[in-house]
C-alpha cells in the first residue's frame, strides 16, 4: 500500500524527523491562501502515487500567492502517467546547501532491511545505483537488533558529513529505520535529505509504502489509503481474495495461480495479443470466484475476449467447469470466451463446457492462439 508524500512526511515528523512542513490544497484558491500564509517562495508539488512527477511538470515554484494559484491550477487535474492529480502539497521554499538520499528497503538477497544513503541526493536513486553504485553507502540491519546507532553513524561519516551533522543524521537515520520496521514498511525514503544554508538537516521529500500482509496490525494505515489513487477494480478484487492488476491490452485473463497467470499473459503476448490484466482467482476457482472474476475483467471496456486458464490440481477440472457455467449464468459476458482446462478431471470439465457452448482447449498455447484470434 502506498501513501502520498504529505502523509509520509506526517508519519516521519511524528517520529521526530525534521521535515519541511507544508499544507495540502485541493483547489488553486487554497494553494494561494497557503502561499499567502507562508509569505515567501513556495513549492507546489503534485500528490500522486507515481514517480517522475518533477519531469512531468508536477512540481512548480511560486514567488507570490498569485503565482502559487496559477501553478496549482496547472498541476491540479494534470495526468501524470495515468494518475490524475487531485491534491497538491504547498511547502515553504528552503535554502538548500546540500542534498542527500536516505532510504530503507528490504535487502532481498540478504533477507534483512538495509539503510541506503548517497551524497547524490535529489536525483533518481535507481539511476545512481545503475550508473555509479559506489556512490551508494549501505548498512545492513541485524535480523534481530535492527540498525544499530553505530551503523547509522558510520554511514554519516562515509557520506563525508561534518562532525556537527553526525548526531542529527544518526537520529534521522535511526528514526527512519524504526519507522520502517515498526510500521511494516516496504520502503521508507527521504529524497532529498537536505542541509539548509543555516546547517540544519531536513527531509524535503518523503515516501513510504507498506506491506499489505501486515496491515492488520496497523489499523490506522488503512485510513491513509487514497481511493482515488487506486484502481477501483484492483481494490474490489482484493476484497474478494483475487489478485488483479489492470494492463493496457484487450485480452482479459482469468487464471488460477500467480505464476501461471503471469505465464498466461506472456503466452498471449507471444502469440501476438496484448493482455488486459493479470488475474489470479486463487486456489479454489469456485463459481463465486469465477463470477467475480468475470465481473472484474468485463468492467474493463478494452476487453475484447477472455482467456480462462485453469490447471486443475487439488481443485478438480469438472468442478471448475461447473463453476464457470454457473458464473456465466449470473454474469452476462458479451465478449468471446476461450477456456483452457488441464489437470485433474480436465476431460470431464471440457465436456461440461462444450455442453454450455464453450470450446475448451487442453494446452495454453492453443488457447492463447485462439483468444488472440477472437480478439482481433
Amino acid at each position: 500500500m502506498n501513501v502520498h508524500e504529505y502523509q509520509a512526511a506526517e508519519i516521519l515528523a511524528a517520529r521526530g524527523i525534521p521535515v519541511n512542513v507544508g499544507k495540502v490544497a485541493t483547489t488553486p484558491a487554497e494553494a494561494e491562501a497557503i502561499a499567502a500564509e507562508f509569505g515567501k517562495l513556495v513549492a507546489i508539488k503534485a500528490q500522486v502515487h507515481i514517480g517522475g512527477r518533477g519531469k512531468a511538470g508536477g512540481i512548480k515554484l511560486a514567488k507570490t500567492p498569485a503565482e502559487a494559484k496559477e501553478a496549482a491550477s496547472q498541476i491540479l487535474g494534470m495526468d501524470i502517467r495515468g494518475h490524475t492529480v487531485n491534491k497538491v502539497l504547498v511547502v515553504p521554499g528552503v535554502d538548500i546547501a546540500r542534498e542527500f538520499y536516505l532510504g530503507v528497503v528490504l535487502d532481498r538477497p540478504n533477507r534483512v532491511p538495509v539503510l541506503m544513503a548517497s551524497a547524490e541526493g535529489g536525483v533518481d536513486i535507481e539511476t545512481v545505483a545503475a550508473e555509479s553504485p559506489e556512490k551508494i553507502i549501505m548498512a545492513r540491519a541485524d535480523p534481530y537488533l535492527g540498525l544499530r546507532d553505530f551503523q547509522a553513524r558510520d554511514v554519516g561519516f562515509a557520506l563525508g558529513l561534518e562532525k556537527e551533522l553526525i548526531n542529527p543524521f544518526t537520529a534521522i537515520a535511526s528514526r527512519l529505520f524504526k519507522a520502517f520496521v515498526e510500521m511494516d514498511a516496504t520502503l521508507a525514503e527521504i529524497n532529498p535529505l537536505i542541509v539548509t544554508g543555516s546547517g540544519e538537516m531536513m527531509a524535503l521529500d518523503s515516501k513510504m509504502s507498506f506491506d499489505d500482509n501486515a496491515l492488520f496490525r496497523h489499523p490506522g494505515l488503512e485510513d491513509l489509503r487514497d481511493l482515488a489513487e487506486e484502481n477501483a477494480t484492483e481494490l474490489e478484487a482484493r476484497g474478494h481474495g483475487i489478485s488483479y492488476v489492470k494492463l493496457d491490452g484487450n485480452i482479459g485473463c482469468i487464471v488460477n495461480g500467480a505464476g501461471l497467470a503471469m505465464a498466461t499473459m506472456d503466452a498471449v503476448k507471444l502469440h501476438g495479443g496484448e493482455p488486459a490484466n493479470f488475474l489470479d482467482v486463487g486456489g479454489g476457482a469456485s463459481a463465486d470466484q469465477v463470477a467475480t472474476a468475470f465481473q472484474l475483467v468485463t468492467s474493463d471496456e478494452n476487453v475484447q475476449a477472455i482467456l480462462i486458464n485453469i490447471f486443475g490440481g487439488i481443485t478438480r477440472g469438472d468442478v471448475v467447469a461447473q463453476g464457470i457455467r454457473e458464473a456465466l449464468g449470473r454474469v452476462d459476458v458479451k465478449v468471446p470466451i476461450v477456456v483452457r482446462l488441464s489437470g485433474t478431471n480436465a476431460e470431464q470439465g471440457r465436456a461440461l463446457l462444450a455442453e454450455a457452448g464453450l470450446t475448451a482447449y487442453g494446452t495454453m498455447d492453443e488457447a492463447a492462439q485462439q483468444v488472440v484470434a477472437a480478439a482481433a
Binding site: R108, V112, G257, A258, L260, S342, G343, M364
Partner: protein, 289 residues
C-alpha cells in the same frame, strides 16, 4: 536418492485439525506419505487420516520421531509455529502459509539458519519426491518418478511444467516449490546445490519469475558449480513495473527484477531458456541427449 523428502520422511503436520491442514493431510496420506502425527494445541487425543494429534511439537516429536514438519497454521501464528518446530529439533520445516508479514520472516530466516535447520517457504506449494513422499499441496497424480529435478517460485505454473514433463515421458526426481515471498528459507541456490549433489537427478528445471535477484544469484551459482544441464523459464515478461503480480515477491521495483534481465543472465550462465512452459520438455530432452 532424490532431495529433501523421500520414503524415510516422518512427517508432522502443524495445524492438522484446521480446514487446510486436515484436507491436505488426507491427500498426503493417500499419496503414501508417512504422516506420523500432527499438532493442534488442545487437540491431543484426536486423529486425522490416522495420524495422532498432539498438543505441542515437542510432545509430537518425542512420541513419533518426526523429522519433517509442514505448517498450515494462519499467517499470524506461522512464525511461532516455525520457531516451535525448529526448537523441537525438526531439521526440515515446510511453511505453506501465505500472507506472513515480510518483517516477521526476517528473524525467522536467520533463526532457522543459526539452528542448522532448513526452511522451505513460506507461501509455497511444498516438495514432492514422486512415488515416495508428497509434502505439500500439489496434485500428486501429475508427477512420475524420474530423473528431472525441478525448482520453482510458483505453484500452478510448476504443475503446468511437471505435467508437460510427465506427458513427455520425463519423470521427476524431486519437485520443489520455494515460494513467492520476498523472504524465503530455501533459495534457488540451495535447491540447485542439492540437485547437483543428488545421484538420481540428471537435469534441472528452474522456474523463476519477476522480482528480486534470486534468479541472477542462481545463474552465477550455476556457472560456477552446476555441471548438470539446467533448463529455465521466467514468468512475467509482460508484467509492468511497480505492480505486485499476486506473489508478494513478484514485483519489479527500481528497475531490478525484470524478466528480461533474468533471462539474459541465465542464458549467459548456460541455462537453456524456454519461451513458454510447453517448450521445457523439448529443451530438457535436448540437454540430456
Amino acid at each position: 536418492m532424490s532431495i529433501l523428502v523421500n520414503s524415510d520422511t516422518r512427517l508432522l503436520v502443524q495445524g492438522i485439525t484446521g480446514k487446510e491442514g486436515s484436507f491436505h493431510t488426507t491427500q498426503m496420506v493417500e499419496y503414501g506419505t508417512n504422516v506420523v502425527g500432527g499438532v493442534t494445541p488442545g487437540g491431543a487425543g484426536k486423529s486425522v487420516a490416522g495420524a495422532p494429534v498432539f498438543n505441542t511439537v515437542h510432545q509430537a516429536v518425542e512420541a513419533t520421531g518426526a523429522n519433517v514438519s509442514i505448517i498450515f497454521v494462519p499467517a499470524r501464528f506461522a512464525p511461532d509455529a516455525i520457531y516451535e518446530a525448529v526448537d523441537a529439533g525438526i531439521p526440515f520445516v515446510i511453511c505453506i502459509t501465505e500472507g506472513i508479514p515480510i518483517l516477521d520472516m526476517v528473524p525467522v530466516y536467520d533463526y532457522v539458519k543459526q539452528k542448522g535447520a532448513r526452511l522451505l517457504g513460506p507461501n509455497c506449494p511444498g516438495v514432492i519426491t514422486p512415488g515416495e513422499a508428497k509434502v505439500g499441496i500439489m496434485p500428486g497424480f501429475i508427477h512420475e518418478p524420474g530423473s528431472i529435478g525441478l525448482v520453482s517460485r510458483s505453484g500452478t505454473l510448476t504443475y503446468e511444467v511437471v505435467d508437460a514433463l510427465t506427458r513427455a515421458g520425463l519423470g521427476q526426481s524431486t519437485a520443489v516449490g520455494i515460494g513467492g515471498d520476498p523472504v524465503i528459507g530455501t533459495s534457488f541456490v540451495d535447491a540447485l546445490e542439492l540437485f547437483q549433489a543428488d545421484d538420481k537427478t540428471s537435469a534441472i528445471v528452474m522456474i523463476g519469475e519477476i522480482g528480486g535477484t534470486d534468479e541472477e544469484t542462481a545463474a552465477a551459482y550455476i556457472k560456477e558449480h552446476v555441471t548438470k544441464p539446467v533448463v529455465g523459464f521466467i514468468a512475467g515478461q509482460t508484467a509492468p513495473p511497480g505492480k505486485r503480480m499476486g506473489h508478494a515477491g513478484a514485483i519489479i521495483s527500481g528497475g531490478t527484477g525484470t524478466a528480461a534481465e533474468k533471462i539474459r543472465t541465465m542464458t549467459e550462465a548456460g541455462v537453456s531458456m524456454a519461451n513458454k512452459p510447453s517448450d521445457v520438455p523439448g529443451l530438457v530432452k535436448a540437454a540430456i541427449a
